[in-house]
């Protein structure tokens, strides 16, 4: 079965604060409900929209990244998709068996052992005992909990919990995979395995919904993305544009908290060797990073920096005007700075550009406010290569072989 997800105009409201009613409140609340039947589309006192009119679709082999600040409604959206919550409005349809990991820890029973929880989770996913048994070793191997298999889950570390939860969700042949923040726990090796696993499922045609604050991972894994804020879809589209938009929103809110930001980044663009805007480069090609700025007052010799990180946060390269001995003089109004790269000597993969504007004096000095503006992971781009190089750097290379003939006597 090929899974799919369709969400149309979904809204969900919550009440603020804790409300464990006691029987004492029952009669007044009934009276209130009878007296004033509030329509479902309006908010009552203490209510707020956790999701408001959210729509999207994920088809076979597609992956959507859901990004946004904390409290944007990301987890609520996933809980609606997994039928834990029912929306007040709108329609949604998820076809197929859902493998899901919500809020990191799966729904484990703390007193049961890892082994027992695997079977319990399998049953919750609607699998037969034999189907779970067939996949059991694979789950244990993936989660790496072999020796703790018969330990109650309450003694697991949070990393072990997440690993086991992910292993179960991603191994028990889901038709749809919904993963919330699995990358915030677990070590680098596990994160890489998670990403590889999700890519593999996606390649098999499993639609994927991926919530994460790890934007490089989102851009690496997803084809499109949804930017949520305050329960609303602020932006949706290609993953690169959505992340850029999010970066701008974040930097805008950062700048508001920095009243002394006399100069700020207003945009980052990448161009290919032909001067045409590009997101995809072949390894070793020419590239230009354009950093647009706006200064509210004349700034003496600001320093510009461009960093490149690989999707898994490996720091690939850092370039700055001050390290290059480049002095810009007094800068005011609007303008842009171009960084021309002769050879983008990176191996194939997904990368991100971060840009910063620093003060001329006090750069790197301890305690000094060295920074005017910083946009991290603002611009994703992809490097393609037909050479099978691994790692980060693509070193121009060739092989020579000098065979030393054995002297036969």
């Amino acid at each position: 079965m090929t899974g799919s997800i369709v969400v149309e105009g979904v809204s969900k409201k919550f009440r603020r604060g804790e409300h464990h009613d006691s029987l004492r409140d029952l009669i007044p609340s009934i009276a209130k409900r009878v007296a004033r039947r509030e329509p479902a589309s309006e908010l009552g006192d203490d209510e707020f929209w956790a999701l408001r009119d959210v729509s999207f679709e994920v088809g076979a082999g597609e992956a959507i990244g859901v990004i946004g600040p904390n409290g944007a409604g990301k987890s609520t959206l996933l809980k609606v998709l997994t039928r834990i919550l029912r929306p007040d409005h709108g329609r949604y349809a998820v076809r197929g068996r859902i493998g899901a990991l919500i809020e990191v820890a799966a729904g484990f029973h703390p007193d049961l052992t890892g082994r027992e929880n695997i079977y319990l989770q399998g049953a919750i996913l609607g699998l037969k005992r034999a189907e779970i048994a067939a996949r059991f070793d694979e789950i244990v191997e993936f989660a790496g909990i072999g020796e703790f298999l018969d330990t109650p889950v309450k003694r697991f570390s949070s990393g072990m919990n997440a690993r086991l939860g992910f292993a179960i969700a991603a191994t028990l042949e889901p038709d749809v995979l919904i993963i919330d923040e699995v990358l915030s726990v677990g070590d680098a090796r596990f994160q890489a395995r998670c990403l590889a696993r999700m890519r593999e499922l996606r390649a098999r045609g499993v639609p994927l919904v991926f919530v994460s604050h790890n934007l490089p991972a989102v851009s690496d894994l997803c084809s499109k993305a949804l930017l949520l804020n305050g329960g609303k879809v602020v932006f949706s589209g290609g993953v690169a544009e959505t992340i850029q938009r999010y970066g701008r929103d974040v930097s805008a809110s950062i700048n508001r908290t920095r009243p002394d930001a006399a100069i700020r980044v207003t945009g980052v663009q990448l161009f290919g060797g032909d001067g045409v805007p590009a997101d995809v480069f072949s390894s070793g090609a020419r590239a230009t990073v354009r950093v647009s700025y706006e200064a509210t007052r004349p700034i003496d010799a600001p320093g510009f920096a461009v960093d490149i990180h690989r999707a898994d946060h490996v720091y690939a390269c850092g370039i700055s005007t001050w390290n290059d001995g480049e002095v810009l003089g007094v800068v005011s109004g609007r303008g842009h700075v171009d960084l021309e790269i002769d050879r983008l000597a990176l191996t194939a993969g997904c990368y991100h550009v971060s840009v910063g504007i620093h003060r001329a004096a006090g750069i790197g000095a301890a305690g000094g406010p060295a920074l005017y503006d910083l946009l991290q992971f603002i611009h994703p781009f992809t490097v393609t290569s037909d050479r099978g190089e691994l790692g980060v750097a693509s070193l121009g290379h060739r092989w020579h072989h000098a065979a030393q003939a054995l002297e036969v006597q």
Partner: protein, 274 residues
Amino acid sequence: MNTPLHPSLMRVARDIREIVAEQVAYRELLARMTHRDLLLRYKQTIMGVGWAVLMPVVNTIVFSVIFMRVAPLDTGMPYPLYAYSGLLAWNFFASSLRFAVTSLTANATLVTKVYFPREIFPLSAVTVTLVDSIVGSVVLAGLMIHYRVAVTPAIAMLPLVVLAETAFTCAMALALAMANLFYRDVKYLFEIVMTVWMFATSVVYPVDLVGSRWGLVLRLNPMVGIIEAFRSVVLRGQVPDATQFAMAAVVSFAALAAAWVTFHRLECRFAESV
């Protein structure tokens, strides 16, 4: 002429279809959840299933002292047999509900993190207690041998009696688990109600002795008919009183249908209320 069904009836029909479809889809889960609860019981208590036997045995001894020495009572059979059979059947009902009432709130992590039919929790509480009661019935068999009570063909009706009691127990379990999720004081009220209910049912004495004034109220209580039917088929070797048992069975199944449909409709609000 084809009269279209009333919309609310259509809705009930749809609810029932959904309930059945879900139970079929998740049939493995009930077994697994019951297994889990049994497993935890054995792991965390030394006595394990011994508790299921101990409770009715101790109660039987206490009530035997009261109603054989202090205030002798004619129950038409050796009193310990009367009391133990009543307590065994009653404890299945009462202990199931005691587990069920907190079953949703105690499993908040599962309720808020994974979807599956929520009735699994109260229903597995009932199933676990049913297993306990089957163990407890060994003592009843022992008492029957001791008092030389023979089993007659009437025992063939036992499954029907157990079915009716299970239906009623499930109905109450669903209703209480749901009520306690929305109103947390239900579990305190529950204990008081159960104490009164036990003495309004022929558990340790024939309830007719209370007086005919309460006749109607007592007849609406399906536990009276069920426990009497249990004693009839197992101990007296008689077919149960048809009207009394039929009424108890009808009330039980009607209650189950009503509780289950209500549960199904409110289920979607559990995760945000738990």
